[in-house]
Subunit: 317 residues, 6 copies
């Protein structure tokens, strides 16, 4: 079965329990989190072979990232290095008006020096879909080059390439992001972007359908997916627009929702599901993710199928 | 004061904290839980002498069950055995669309070999009310026989018998359940059943009032109570139908709600309260239960009285 | 910059995690809590120098109180004593119909023997605003005298005096409270009272505006603030009535809301903000407080400014 | 089977986990602890009917004490009161040179107003052995009277009376203790005392054997037991001196060791064991206690028998 | 690089924190544990490809086992089934005289119905070493047959077979064990046995060297290893006896020590290390294991090398 | 009373509970730790005014450091910056042969850009003793310059300067350290160094007394202290050598021992204690520190006095 291969940074996320403040909490919960590995976990949970490529410090912290991804069935192919840090981020979850907040501490992470030469590009060539996101090139100029290189490697090998815009305002400006991403667009088959990023970064206007169509036509993407949070998602492919609402969900942890969506969508497409069904799978994994503490969607195929089919969970006794 | 005596299995419930997944949680919280002992705890909290009969493995796990029930004032009379396991169940609490789920691990529990001969039947004979539920006979063929025996013992001794249908689809089919339960019905005075079980298992139709009336008339029950979750409860006795709404509640743990209701209802009836008041007491204990982590309703008489009287809780400072 | 100085009791608050019952919880979380020190923390978080005066037992428990207040930037000037206890209170947080409940265990606290002679009254004289609340005189007859003494010391020194009625039914009756508080009123510049206390204790009628106006006119207060919980707050000063709604908030811990309001209001007034702006600052600190576990408002100036300006918190990534 | 009945105060013990300091710990572990109820638990664990008499505040804290004792099989007969506190104590466990330390907060506990009139003295009259300790009369002058009363009630009823000297320097001076205790001595059959208290309080000199003999002869005690910590224990009865070494133990929590010894000794004597065997049972329960977190000896008969028989615990797989 | 493949049961281990008693602990820590998978983890940590074969229930509990083994780099090839339980065991850690104790709850585990037909025997055929232990055939008569079958499959395929006697008295008698194991002996190349089992089960006498030599000669084993706990280990191969002492270790969790030894020994032998060096590697992994909570030896190659080389760990700052 | 002022980096320390591995722990405990602030806390606990100077990121993490130091009575004067990280370190505590290990993640910490111009040098000028350590200049070339500057500022102002060699092999080589430190030596009055660093970095030979004498004579230090861990400490001043053994201690957390010693020594010297007494105070604070989890010595004056006086801690009841 064709595999999904992703490339990017995975951080250790440190967060206080019970909506405590970072300023006073005495313990922090540790989980791994990174856009591209989150996608890989979601795909693996749906039964799709998934591999994550990266570069990590040769330390208990780097091993921690690897062990947590392996536990969910993701194959990990990383370059181990003695230089560079393990990126971390601190998350404080809270209700309004305090709101959830994030402090990234990812500068000089080991991955920032990763080059296409040292990565497991053979694995990319053998993939069915290769994904990375707009976070990766924003991390260093080396990675800006590397992302271009690996997308080209995938394209040349005939691998489907997918890209999630994932704009991060703490890493670069919209203009910087747009300049860089547009260089990648010719090598990308499937573009996924939050509507917000499409507007702020890609400078698109209009509703989700218009944005999807315009992007697809301008850059000749095979597929464009516009995610609109609680308002669902819209996709364009083969001249057709499809729209699906989001599933209702009781949110306990919002981080990783978009990645869960991407993992569900891509895995479903690799099963030759229709565009609409794939949006539903993406939405179902995303809705389940929000009920689960941590960045990753630890779900089962059966759970996702049930949500897609619209069945309400009842306690089976 | 006349006592309530109940008979059944109590498991150890193991559940991850903070809506974590069973697949990844590193600690589990342990509490006891079992339909009939939950009823006994609720009754004891209302001031009614309550005794729970069962058979347990002679191990720290069996002693754990006993000690947790004793702490809430229930008298425990168990047969200790070197054979048979301590039944457990794993509970994963979650919001929609994930939903709360349960994995029972109760096969070959010590109680499954319990016979009327070895149980403290003298205690049953001296009770004012004896209760068991539809879970107990579903656990083994020995217990199917035992339940019939102890109901007969109670009936012969002039003890009021109460029975909660409590259908568990993981233990038997509706048809198997109906066949078995109907053999017990002649020995039962008070039948309590969720409306859902009345429809699926007892093959009744119509609204709660119709079901209650029909069951009472067909099987000559002294009292029939139909519980309808958030929609309240309906009871039939002495030719009269009474209905009460459920109290509003902020649910933190739904498990044990029905048992809390039964304990509140039976304890109230033993105080010679009217059918309607007893439904209110059942509903009040049930509503309080849902705000409390764990299977059992650790409540005080004063709290229940306050809820029945419709007083909103305010912070008394 | 002129300082706020407050005087009162700070207890150690002991509360079960996760809405467990005090009757069965095996661990308790410990935080400090006291009306007047809560006010000092809120003011300090807004950048205002704040000092808390009290009397504490010379023990790890007394030191615990001091260390927790210092961590939030409050200067602590306490009399250490070998006699008298550290007051505690037990808090059980729960949803309806159980409701949150409190057990005070504060009798014979060290502070109950505090006299004006031994307190750091020089610090009061150098303050810009001095605050205490109706809880303090209710704790002992010594404190009833002491509160009168320190208010007079402040008044004589030309320090603005503020007083939060803070009626506690477990400490005295409304009539006792009224008799005592009215003796203090001539020495008070700023009176803050929950509408509920104004009605029950001060025997006022009418809406919040009427109450504020009547109190100000009868007792010649410079400022009167009436807090109405989720319905906002009303203030009267210089012949003008101002009203502000409360900010929406997702409550995780309601204790300390009123104190957070007072701290925000007073700190804002000391910055020469208008009455209406000060009500908004009070409301913003209060709204943030309710999202934070514990009695004290661990907030930043920037967060409070953001809430006052009406910005919704979004995850900044 | 003849029961042991004990009378005294049980506190809630609050202690930081993992050898943290009280001054900085954010959570506290809660367990009940009191000399006389500790004895009752130890006796109940050995299979002896045991009842604890006391007076408690009608609150979740008082109910907490009751529920924790009941869980270990102790029958609880308490007077519930609206006045008086629940006594607590704070325990900080630590190695040398810091050392374990204790802060008692037991003044004005509900039990301090308990009189013989209101206690369940009928239960004392029906006991086989009645025990209290030197802590109880030290708590209040009312209790000083009550202890004399209940000892007399027991003596008149022909119940064996046992008394553990248990001197507490935070409650009274050695001279005060001696004066009070010597008034009780004529009513006491079995005197148990740490060698240290015998020397400091009872002003005895010489080795343990000499002390035991002298005390027995002077006051005509039926039995005298002198405990010497890690050096074992010595008992005198019927003109004979018996000595037994302590069992080796890996201490995780030293609190309650003496009470565990007393419970084991008395329970064993009630089985008509020899004085030496009873010392061994006391020592075995004490040694096991020190391996268990908390004040009470949660042990099984089989474990104690094994230790007495000198068998080393091995992992039975 | 040639792989180690192991076959057996992995349970979920549930244990109270902080040496609490199972009878009263409110939380349990969960980790996986099973002799054969423990060996696989140890080997994987040393860099050896390791695969674990088994049969598991298709549930979150079964997935939990898989995910925990995968995190440490073990490849998992299991048969998923809807029937059969997830085996568990309860562990209470304690010092003397209480001692650490274990309650197995492994009857009817899913693995007990595993047959050679359904297992991934192709993986066995491709292994360099195949290991199982005396626990596996003791679990069911089906497994008794299956173990014989898979050993034969390995032998026929020219795979080195290793077997750890691992006698469990809760599963069978010494005589039953001996009868069964001796049937396997002709198919076994490397026999590893605790000296205690060699004496009790295999009915050998003499010192470790004598036992090793006698066993090797009688059954024509290629290698025999006798483990003697803190007294080290002795091995016989090619007519030579080698003995190595154990490394000193500060034990925090003794469970899994033997398996860690086996994993280290076998992995080292697969690197063509001498018999003595392999004993040292086994001993080093075992010593490290005892400092780590849980059943499995989460170690790094570098740590093990350092211990073998006799370097004391110092804090590298 | 003359104050101690220290300057350096304080990190957040993240460590798994219960000797778990960093590779698998799911929660981390957070405490602040830094050589110079540890010294300040120890001095403050002994009653000496203590101020810590540094530069911190304007974030919850930076505020966390400040709040934790303030709680122990240290005055904090920091430069807040928007650039630069909060340094962290990961600590894994373990017994032998695993051993305790540390992963520093302190590159690019905010403090690395601190210059004498922006620090509160007025506070240094008003100090009685100013301390920094060999860690600070090793963090950046800016800090190498800054340390020289602030030592000179102190010297010019007539403030006693103290310096702890504190060599960190992860930051620089012995040769680099020696070159840098020797440039500071002319400005240093009190040199404190582990014997190990004196040998490896300062290239001294001989016993502690010889090293102390040689250093003092060569560099004209007022005082030289050589610490030898469990072997005690030796000091040289005014032509005299003094030696003191270490106090026995049950170590639960070794990190921060040296800093506790320095804080105790310096605070004692500021009380005009003799050299020998100051060594004893240093040793007593160090011994207590090792019984306390975390980097800082949360002790009381009374505890330290008791240890110096050689009294064994007993449970005072």
């Amino acid at each position: 079965m064709g595999a999904i291969v992703t490339f990017g940074e995975t951080m250790l996320r440190l967060s206080p329990p019970d909506q405590q403040r970072l300023e006073s909490a005495t313990t922090l919960e540790v989980v791994p989190g990174g856009a591209e590995s989150n996608v890989a976990v979601a795909a693996a949970c749906l039964g799709r072979p998934a591999t994550w490529l990266s570069k990590l410090p040769s330390s208990p912290l780097g091993r921690r990232v690897v062990s947590e991804l392996r536990r969910y069935g993701v194959t990990v192919e990383v370059v181990w290095t003695e230089s560079g840090r393990q990126g971390t981020y601190f998350l404080e979850r809270a209700g309004q008006p305090r709101g959830t907040s994030v402090i990234y501490d990812r500068a000089n992470a080991a991955v920032t020096s990763a080059t296409a030469d040292e990565l497991a590009t053979e694995t990319i060539r053998e993939a069915e879909t290769f994904l990375t996101s707009g976070i990766t090139p924003a991390l260093s100029s080396t990675l800006e080059q590397t992302v271009g290189d690996v997308l080209e490697i995938a394209q040349v090998a005939g691998v489907q390439t997918a890209f999630d815009v994932n704009y991060r305002s703490t890493l670069w400006t919209p203009a910087q992001a747009r300049d860089t991403l547009e260089q990648y667009f010719p090598a990308i088959d499937v573009l996924i972007t939050p509507a917000r990023d499409a507007r702020n970064v890609l400078e698109r206007a209009g509703d989700a359908g218009t944005i999807a169509t315009d992007l697809a036509e301008e850059w000749d993407f095979e597929t464009v997916v516009i995610t609109c949070g609680a308002d669902g998602a819209t996709a364009y492919a083969d001249g057709t627009l499809v729209e699906r609402p989001a599933f209702e969900t009781e949110t306990i942890d919002p981080i990783g929702t978009g990645d869960a969506f991407v993992g569900g969508f891509l895995a479903s497409r690799l099963e030759d599901r229709s565009l609409g069904t794939a949006l539903e799978y993406g939405g179902a994994v995303a809705a389940l993710k929000r009920t689960i503490p941590g960045d990753v969607a630890v779900v089962t195929r059966a759970e996702v199928d049930r949500v897609v089919e619209g069945d309400h969970a009842v306690i089976a006794r």
